[in-house]
């Protein structure tokens, strides 16, 4: 049995390890080791396309994770006090958001937004003052942030709600009895207690947005995120540069995940 478990761990980690090993390959060929070199890291970090894609990915992940954490936390707190059909509908929407395949979310967002923009743009042009160029709404960073925020907000709501469920109602009541305003109770009692869950939600949202390929593939317009860049590079052929990018991306995700774990764990202990 123990040998079996070791085999499964090998199965899980060997491919990742091989990517990392070959990222230090001196040779051009991706599958023959020809000595140690850091050159592919240097090339990746100097490649303007990679850096631009990285910047886009970071901006999108940062903004959508921030929005999702704030709006998701507010919604999770508000939902505590909502019952009846409205609550059932909201729960169903959250369920649909995490269940529907990413590819369907991407496609649906693409055709809906393109259609809406098609209606709005002539209208914007009509009401815009003479002489000035009217703005043209199009798919791009905005639509990508909006789509990522939608999905990750559902994640944050689920995580924060699980934490809220474990809190004692008596705490909030005690705070109110001691004449704290509702906002005061939220800021001084609820928020510190759910903070670890919010932070963990933020980190998971960030990781999701940063790693997402399929939604971005449809809704990013002419913008290129890092996963889109990597996907099109793989299509053109396997190079150690992809290994170098992949190793750096996985290392970054790993650090964020460990941080999320530690934060959640510390929150439990309090």
């Amino acid at each position: 049995m123990r040998a079996y478990a070791i085999c499964v761990y090998l199965f899980l980690y060997t491919p990742i390890a091989i990517i990392a090993v070959f990222s230090f390959n001196a040779g051009r060929h991706a599958s023959q080791l020809q000595g140690f070199s850091m050159q592919w890291y240097g090339r990746a970090l100097k490649n303007p396309f990679v850096m631009e894609a990285l910047e886009t990915s970071l901006i999108v992940a940062l903004i959508s994770a921030t929005l999702a954490s704030i709006l998701g936390t507010l919604a999770a707190v508000g939902l505590q006090g909502i019952r009846g059909p409205a609550r059932a509908i909201f729960d169903a929407i959250i369920y649909v958001a995490v269940m529907i395949p990413g590819i369907v979310i991407g496609i649906a967002t693409l055709i809906a937004l393109v259609t809406v923009f098609g209606v709005l743009n002539p209208w914007l042009a009509a009401i815009w003052p003479e002489g000035a160029t009217p703005p043209a709404l199009s798919m791009g960073m905005g639509s990508l942030i909006a789509a990522h925020t939608m999905f990750t907000m559902a994640l944050v709501i689920i995580i924060v709600r699980a934490r809220l469920g474990t809190l004692e109602q008596a705490l909030g009541e005690a705070s109110a009895d001691l004449y704290a305003t509702p906002f005061g109770t939220f800021r001084q009692v609820t928020l510190p207690l759910i903070a670890p869950a919010v932070l963990a939600g933020f980190l998971l949202s960030f990781t999701f947005s940063f790693d997402d390929f399929i939604i971005a593939f449809f809704v990013a317009g002419s913008e290129t995120t890092l996963p889109i860049y990597v996907f099109s590079s793989i299509r053109r052929g396997v190079t150690p540069e992809i290994n170098a990018i992949g190793t750096m991306v996985m290392l970054a995700s790993l650090i964020l995940l460990i941080a999320a774990q530690l934060i959640l764990r510390r929150g439990d202990r309090k």
Partner: protein
Amino acid sequence: MTQRERNWLLVAPAGAWFLVMLVLPLSVVFIFSFGERGAAGGYVPAFTFEQYANLPARLTAFKNTMILAPLGTLAAMLIAYPLAYQLAVRTDPKWKNILLVLVIVPFWTSILIRSYAWIFLLGGRGIPALLGTFGIEGVRLIYTPFAVLIGIVYGYLPLMVFPIYVALDRLDNRLLEASSDLGARPLATFFKVTLPLSIPGVATGCMLVFILLMGEFLIPALLGGGKVFFVGNALVDLFLQSRNWAFGSAVAFTLIVIMLVTVTIYMRLIARLQTGRDDVSVM
């Protein structure tokens, strides 16, 4: 402001966001699926079932998905169960958490890069070359259904282990002791006590993996090389290459319906299995 109004105010931004970015888009897909393709692609309003009648044109994609998704789920389950069992039942509690985290971590790192690893391993200079040195020549792995299956199992194994682990971890050890005190052999205890009690975990894992597999695009795109394609790949083709939005919407909507129906039937079956077991335990 009353408590009630305050709650609504808190929920409103998220609600509006879901409305615009989820409910509206899904409704658009539904409406477009009854439309027609424009001369230059895109969509022309209409009310016709033509797109649905046309679905058999993409039958291969549906067939591949409906064969490889359940097969991949089954394979992942068979591999995950013994590992989850080892972790939950046979591992020192000191190590449990860290070992479990080690299983889950890959799931939260880029699936794109993890699938890329298998292009590397299964490609001509990877495992086939290794087999060649042992005298086994001409093995072709990449761009086969087998490659897609490996990619699937590799990608989704962590998601399968977790719920099974949780179910097994909750298992009351006294039940196992009672079973052995009553003279059951370890194997009998496993099949009569442990396995039935872990069914909910197995069911959750299978459902999660199956749902994600139904919409899979990346793994078949990278490891199937255009020969083994899923509905997801057909959708990318329909929306980004041939720009046939009406037909694409019909395919997407059909996918959602198949998914919902399969999951509902599956949940019913599991629920029935559960109540059946409860009856036995009452006796």
